[in-house]
């Protein structure tokens, strides 16, 4: 049986890669995908601790996070489509409508 620390390290690695993606990428769609990766890393943690304590509550919260990710993706992609229609770009650097 694998020790819990292995799963924690896997989750940590995915979380950090997701953080790097959010901060360094310029394409907003890829930034949203990195956020999905971060939520997924958190899900691994929740399922692991649900397994450690033998309680289904962690899996319930992981299910809520999946629902949350779906809502976030729908609204975020809607905003991206609306923005692309106005400005013809999806690059984060060029989203400077509030700059004067």
């Amino acid at each position: 049986m694998m020790s819990p620390a292995h799963y924690l390290f896997l989750s940590l690695a995915l979380f950090l890669i997701g953080c790097v993606g959010v901060v360094t990428r310029r394409n907003v769609i890829v930034v949203l995908m990195s956020i999905e990766l971060i939520l997924n890393a958190v899900n691994i943690n929740l399922v692991l601790f649900s397994r450690i304590f033998g309680d289904a509550a962690g899996q319930v919260f992981a299910l809520f996070i999946i629902a949350d990710a779906a809502a976030e993706a729908a609204v975020g992609l809607g905003i991206i489509i609306a923005f692309f229609r106005n400005r013809e770009t999806v690059l984060a650097d060029e989203m400077d409508l509030l700059k004067w």
Partner: protein, 177 residues
């Protein structure tokens, strides 16, 4: 033995897929590698005894959310983005800072088991039989203790659906008609 082989297989696929997802220039390639990572994570869920989440991950994430992502990538013209790529010093600095923070968190997890009674304590796993009829246990928990969060989540999904339709609606066409 089989357990660790499965763990390292799925974990390696997940981490490699995530790294490729972040570094690929083409957004479609990023999406495909993210799908790989999500499928590998579903395998990790299955290994941890969460069969319902395994199926929910594949159907919802891979079948729903990622199809939405690919749909939007195809809808939005991205060849503009590919021309303007240049190396930025800022992103290198940010990557180093995140790597240092990650090394710190990793050291905390690593030394937690070496120093019993001090700092963070990670206890061993309960027997897998505590969660055996997985969907039944999950449903029992979801519809008794967490009924109110469940209803709030359904309202959230409704709000997100309405919001997505409002955001993505073509306003010019409605003004003309």
């Amino acid at each position: 033995m089989l357990d660790s082989i499965l763990f390292y297989f799925f974990g390696g696929v997940a981490v490699i897929g995530a790294a490729l997802m972040v570094t690929r220039r083409n957004a479609i390639h990023s999406a495909v590698f993210l799908i790989t990572t999500l499928l590998a994570t579903a395998g990790i869920f299955l290994q941890l005894g969460a069969e319902f989440l395994f199926i929910a991950q594949i159907i919802l994430y891979v079948g729903g959310i990622m199809v939405l992502f690919i749909f939007v990538i195809m809808l939005v013209r991205l060849d503009v983005a590919l021309h303007h790529i240049r190396f930025r010093m800022k992103s290198l600095v940010v990557t180093i800072v995140i790597a240092v923070l990650g090394a710190e968190a990793g050291a905390i997890i690593y030394y937690a088991r070496k120093l019993p009674g001090q700092g963070l304590f990670i206890q061993n796993m309960a027997p897998a039989s505590n969660l055996t009829p997985n969907s039944e246990k999950l449903a029992q928990s979801l519809f008794t203790n967490y009924l109110l969060p469940f209803e709030i989540a359904s309202v959230l999904l409704l709000v997100a659906m309405v919001g997505a339709v409002v955001m993505a609606k073509n306003k010019k066409r409605t003004e003309d008609s």
